[in-house]
């Protein structure tokens, strides 16, 4: 029951995040949406690893255990997520310093034929 609820939330988060990426025109909003969608993907794996009334995958914990493999996968994914997000944000800052806007439509409209000089 718990796993099903978390799975529903995960799928909802992915949909919500992708919808934000689609409709918002500001790049920072798009990254926020991507962040939420990424959180949904991580929750999806963690929820799939869960079993009914299971404890953490540690020795000495009685009863059934969760599946440790998806947890090991998402553990690194969270950290990578942070680094890649920082990289994307630096590029957004770069765009807003050089082109003075974060709006994708304006960025497309004012697309220069060559990269502006610093």
């Amino acid at each position: 029951m718990e796993a099903q609820g978390a799975l529903a939330l995960a799928i909802g988060l992915v949909g919500l995040g992708l919808w934000t990426v689609l409709v918002r025109r500001n790049l920072v909003w798009k990254l926020l949406g991507l962040n939420v969608a990424g959180g949904g993907a991580i929750l999806f794996l963690v929820a799939l690893a869960h079993r009914e009334k299971a404890g953490p995958a540690l020795e000495g914990v009685p009863g059934p255990h969760v599946d440790p493999l998806p947890q090991a996968l998402v553990l690194t994914a969270i950290v990578i997520h942070f680094a890649v997000l920082a990289l994307a944000l630096v590029y957004v800052i770069f765009l807003s310093e050089r082109r003075h806007t974060q709006d994708v439509r304006k960025l497309e409209e004012t697309c220069p034929t060559r990269w502006p000089e610093s």
Binding site: A6, L16, V28, L32, L43, H100
Partner: protein, 273 residues
């Protein structure tokens, strides 16, 4: 049970955050959502993942988003329509002050968003934080609730007399200081011209620019009216909200630079003839 409650909380926070209009609320909402999500991981027996999510998703990610938001976003300008200085051309703003505002936006790397208001609402918009800057024929000499920029366009107050009689004063902070008892007050220049035309008043106190604009529109009753220039020189300025020190500093630097390079004089010649 706890899992479902936390799931609901995380979902509600995500929906709340992503449906906001203000980016700051969105970022903070997503941070809170990450914390709730860490709680969900804990209930799903993934303590390692919960620990990583709590410290990265809630701490570091929120913080780099906040830092990226800093000094970006919209620069909201409370604007009063005032013909050659700031006016609407189609749905785009135009005018002398707009040229300066567009340059200021480029300098601050922010998008200038113009909020058209009437003259009376300007100080309220600045005080409430709704706008950071006010433009459009701003003539105040000093105001404790505002930071004023250096003079942009010099001007004077004039008294226009068609004949002896009652005086009408434009309801402008500067003109109002000259108002005596028995004087009429008009909010809009057109109202003032109408008062003169109908003979309700014979003398008017207003600034040169409004005078010129009314003359151009042909709203003036007579061609041969006596013009008396009043008082010491004045200037149109920008007004900056008290808490927007950074905007004020950038504006001052920009204006000084424009003056030095002669761009400002160029603009004045182009827009004011």
């Amino acid at each position: 049970m706890g899992t479902l409650v936390l799931c609901g909380l995380a979902g509600a926070l995500a929906v709340f955050a992503l449906t906001r209009r203000r980016l700051l609320l969105g970022v903070i909402g997503v941070g809170a959502h990450s914390l709730a999500l860490a709680g969900v991981y804990l209930f799903l027996s993934a303590p390692d993942v919960a620990l990583a999510e709590a410290s990265i998703g809630f701490g570091l990610v929120t913080f780099i988003f906040l830092l990226a938001l800093r000094r970006s976003g919209r620069l909201v300008v409370a604007a009063v329509e005032c013909f050659p200085l700031l006016y609407q051309e189609g749905d785009r703003p135009a005018g002398l002050e707009w040229e300066i505002l567009a340059r200021l936006g480029d300098r601050l790397h922010r998008e200038v968003h113009v909020l058209w208001v009437c003259r009376g609402d300007v100080s309220g918009a600045l005080a409430s934080g709704e706008a950071e800057l006010a433009a459009g024929g701003f003539l105040v000499r000093s105001d404790p609730g505002l930071r004023l920029s250096r003079p942009v366009v010099p001007t004077r107050l004039v008294e226009v007399a068609v004949g002896p009689g009652r005086r009408v004063v434009l309801a402008h902070p500067c003109c109002e200081a000259l108002a005596q008892s028995g004087d009429l007050r008009c909010e809009e220049p057109e109202e003032l011209a109408r008062a003169l035309c109908s003979g309700e008043a014979c003398r008017a106190v207003l600034d040169l620019l409004t005078f010129r604009e009314l003359g151009l529109k042909g709203a003036w009753p007579e061609e041969n009216c006596a013009i008396r220039v009043l008082e010491d020189p004045l200037a149109y300025r920008f007004a900056v909200a008290l808490d927007a020190a950074e905007v004020h500093q950038a504006l001052e630097e920009l204006l000084a630079e424009l003056e030095d390079r002669g761009v400002l004089a160029d603009l004045v010649r182009r827009y004011l003839g």
